[in-house]
């Protein structure tokens, strides 16, 4: 199927339905209640999302899902971004559900996926450690073989929704060689079945998404709980990163668009010097710049989602491009959002800072703009070499400066 532009009828429906649902079930007042809650998790909301079919959206029917695609999923994520929805949705589906679907054994899938779809469980992934960077070298939590099981020791950081997660994927080091991408293994753990896992809430900026430190002390895991192959966890993590990054882009674009709408509404309402501030051209032109940024952020995000949906080899490029552009743009939108609101925009009671914090938190995850731009530069280098190096240099009058 070719890449589709714009939404089809079914997607339009999904969008309207999800917007209505979230407005009713989780308005900003409820968001703020959940922020104060230690886990930020509402089991009732989770159940309702399951009833709507959201939690099994991208699973095949045999696992209780509805077999929709990745682009459909991003439509939900955009809507969730619009209300900075506190929910373990990304943790459960992107960080755990999809990789289990793609790499799990029949037993693993049978055990977990239907439970996710029914809203009975929450899942997450413990990957990052002290430096908070997503790269193989910093995975140092160890899993040592003892008989027919592994024993996990070490500390993970920035683990989302750890406290409410029934299942946790853990990226652990099973072997250290010269290549840090070798020797990482993913383990699937039922957190209620074992002792030795200690999750402590982290005090972080974005209170709509709770993160934890997770300490593992001699936690035993049977060898059958490995996801994929022993030592071969990194390629799975690359796919997790690819999908989750695209998901975060969708969320960021949703948040950015909502932040701009709030700002424009305020520009039309707030009076200074006897006129609404939206009539000041200095502000008008800056608002216009945000419209421009969001058009291209959305374009790249949609392309990335379509490319993933189509299993297109360009997906890797598309996601990197989307992440750097969506991050940069949405950070600007939320910063301008605060500025154009004046003093009120700086208060705790105004919602803009919630968007500001969510966007910045998402931007730090899975590599920021400069990280992804460097990946693109590397890709350009390869393309350049493939495309017949030197073609352009034969143009008339070319003086080669370095020979």
């Amino acid at each position: 199927m070719p890449i589709e532009y714009g939404l089809n009828e079914q997607q339009e429906m999904l969008k309207t339905m999800s917007r209505d649902f979230i407005a009713k079930e989780c308005p900003m007042t409820r968001v703020r209640e959940l922020m104060k809650d230690e886990t930020g998790f509402s089991p009732e909301l989770w159940k309702k999302m399951a009833e709507l079919g959201w939690l099994g959206l991208v699973f095949p029917e045999e696992y209780g899902g509805t077999g929709m695609n990745f682009r459909d999923l991003t439509i939900l994520l955009e809507e969730m971004g619009r209300t900075v929805l506190p929910s373990p949705f990304i943790s459960t589906l992107l960080l755990a559900g999809l990789p289990i679907l793609a790499f799990g054994t029949k037993e693993q899938k049978d055990e977990i996926l239907p439970k996710i779809a029914r809203g009975e469980v929450v899942c997450t992934l413990a990957a990052l450690e002290e430096d908070g960077d997503w790269w193989a070298d910093s995975i140092n939590v160890r899993a040592d073989r003892k008989g027919d099981q592994y024993v996990i020791n070490g500390t993970k950081l920035f683990v989302p929704d750890a406290k409410v997660a029934n299942y946790m994927l853990i990226a652990a080091r099973t072997k250290r060689t010269e290549n840090p991408e070798e020797g990482i293994t993913l383990f699937l753990l039922d957190t209620r079945e074992v002792w030795g896992i200690l999750s402590t809430g982290l005090k972080t900026m974005d209170e709509t998404r709770k993160q934890y430190e997770v300490v593992f002390v001699n936690v035993p895991v049977p060898a059958k709980n490995i996801l994929g192959e022993l030592h071969q966890g990194w390629p799975i993590m690359k796919q997790i990163a690819l999908h989750t990054t695209a998901a975060l882009c969708a969320e960021m674009v949703g948040a950015g668009e909502k932040a701009l709408e709030m700002t424009v509404a305020y520009l039309k309402e707030r009076v200074a010097f006897g006129v609404v501030i939206g009539s000041f051209q200095a502000l008008q032109h800056r608002a216009a710049d945000l419209v421009i940024g969001l058009e291209y952020a959305r374009s790249l995000m949609e392309w990335a989602a379509e490319a993933i949906k189509e299993d297109d080899p360009d997906a890797i490029t598309a996601v990197s491009m989307a992440k750097s552009f969506c991050g940069d743009t949405c950070k600007k939108v939320v910063a301008e959002g605060i500025q154009m609101h004046g003093g009120i925009g700086f208060t705790w009671d105004h919602d803009m800072h919630l968007y500001f914090k969510r966007v910045w938190a998402s931007d730090t995850a899975f590599g920021d703009g400069s990280y992804h731009r460097e990946l693109i530069a590397k890709a350009l280098d390869e393309i350049h070499q493939l495309a017949g190096h030197g073609r352009w240099m034969k143009m008339p009058g070319r003086i080669t400066q370095t020979g």
């Binding site: 939206g278 008008q284 216009a288 419209v291 058009e295 790249l300 490029t317 491009m321 731009r373 240099m393």
Partner: protein
């Protein structure tokens, strides 16, 4: 895709390659090739001939109804054509304003005879056009046009002046909004005409630009007569026709070729040149491509190109669903033109002192084309409506903010 279709596309590819081998200017793409002077009559004629050849072969002229000379192709075929032409770095089309702004205006507001008479020759490149909109006191404030037209039988007698008229010196035809009602208020006093540039009383005086070239000029209308039937749209409604022209212009003109899906060959094309430049330039002993600052900037342009490509397609689909108003064009107008400038600035910074060499100096890289582009992009954010005016359109018409105050 069906095997049969793939076969057809491959055949088309071979056909284009054979066409190019046969028709490209002698020596094209080799050091022996001597391009005609930029902006010269010769260069203009070459562009026209090339466009005619492409049109006759069915490689341009898409998206226009058949009865007006349009060529029908599937999206896949268009993509193949674009790929092949871009890949060879085939010569540019005539670069007239005909296809980009006159054609869409006529399609929307033209009388049947006007469409039949003018559009085929716009597509084939046989006739060139100019746009006499801006006047000394009507630029951003276009509604302040002072050119007058007085009815005399079947004709209108036009007096006044335009300025910054691009391509006027080679144009066969022109378009101009004219004040045909001296009493009516702004926006309701104009009528829109197409006119023959050979008409007595029409005069072009070239103006020199900061690049040293004279793409544009002043144009004078001295009792010039235009037949009444040349009016496009209704009398007194010329402002709306002019808006259609500006809308097409802001959108970067008419899309002849479907954008390709392939990232390697097309939109990265321009960026590939930057990579090449950066790899072949050393500053203080260090290859520029190894400098993370420049790598980041070049990568950013690749990202922005892809964003523009997808956005264009989004807009196309939205337009089909009638979900656009035309104001969206201001988004791509601002973004692409400012990007051009940022790119040129970056190139200048990569080249350092060497950017100063202009055409004619033996040290000039690519015969001064980078230096030229660097200067030429200054005009990008002014021509077709300044970026300030376009930001105003987004703010007022898309965001619904009130009319602006200082």
């Amino acid at each position: 895709m069906a095997v049969e279709e793939t076969g057809k596309l491959d055949a088309l590819r071979q056909e284009i390659r054979a066409f190019l081998r046969k028709n490209l200017p002698k020596g094209w793409g080799t050091p022996e090739y001597v391009a005609p002077e930029r902006g010269s009559k010769e260069a203009h004629e070459l562009g026209k001939q090339w466009q005619k050849k492409l049109y006759d072969a069915g490689y341009t002229g898409f998206g226009v109804p058949k009865e007006y000379g349009g060529i029908e192709r599937s999206r896949e075929e268009m993509a193949v054509i674009r790929e092949e032409l871009t890949h060879t770095g085939a010569p540019p089309l005539a670069g007239s304003l005909g296809p980009s702004i006159v054609l869409p205006t006529l399609l929307r507001y033209g009388k049947e005879w006007q469409k039949k008479r003018f559009i085929p020759k716009i597509l084939s490149g046989e006739e060139s056009w100019c746009e006499c909109f801006s006047e000394p006191n009507a630029g951003s404030d276009l509604a302040n046009i002072q050119k007058t037209g007085v009815r005399d039988g079947d004709e209108w007698v036009v007096n006044g002046q335009s300025v910054w008229t691009s391509g006027a010196k080679f144009a066969d035809w022109g378009v101009a909004p004219v004040r045909t009602d001296l009493k009516a208020p702004r926006h309701r006093n104009l009528s829109y005409f197409v006119f023959d540039c050979k008409s007595p009383g029409f005069e072009v005086r070239p103006l020199r630009q900061m690049t040293g070239d004279s793409e544009f000029g002043e144009t004078f209308f001295d009792n010039m007569r235009i037949p009444h039937e040349n009016m496009v749209g209704e009398e007194g409604k010329g402002w709306y026709v002019a808006m259609a022209t500006l809308e097409a212009e802001r959108g970067g003109g008419f899309q002849f070729l479907a954008p390709s899906r392939r990232i390697e060959l097309t939109s990265l094309g321009g960026v590939d040149n930057f990579v090449e430049l950066a790899k072949n330039t050393k500053r203080r002993g260090k290859v520029v491509w190894e400098d993370p600052v420049f790598r980041q900037r070049i990568a950013q342009f690749a990202i922005e190109n892809e964003a523009m490509r997808y956005s264009r397609e989004r807009m196309r689909v939205k337009a089909q669903k009638k979900q656009t108003t035309g104001n969206e064009q201001s988004i791509s107008s601002i973004f692409s033109r400012e990007k051009n400038q940022r790119q040129a600035n970056m190139v200048a910074e990569i080249m350092g002192a060497n950017i100063q060499f202009m055409k004619g100096d033996k040290r000039a890289l690519d015969d001064g084309s980078w230096a030229y582009t660097f200067l030429r992009t200054r005009g990008n954010t002014i021509e077709t409506g300044t970026t300030e005016i376009n930001r105003g359109i987004i703010a007022e018409r898309m965001l619904g903010l009130p009319k602006s105050r200082a």
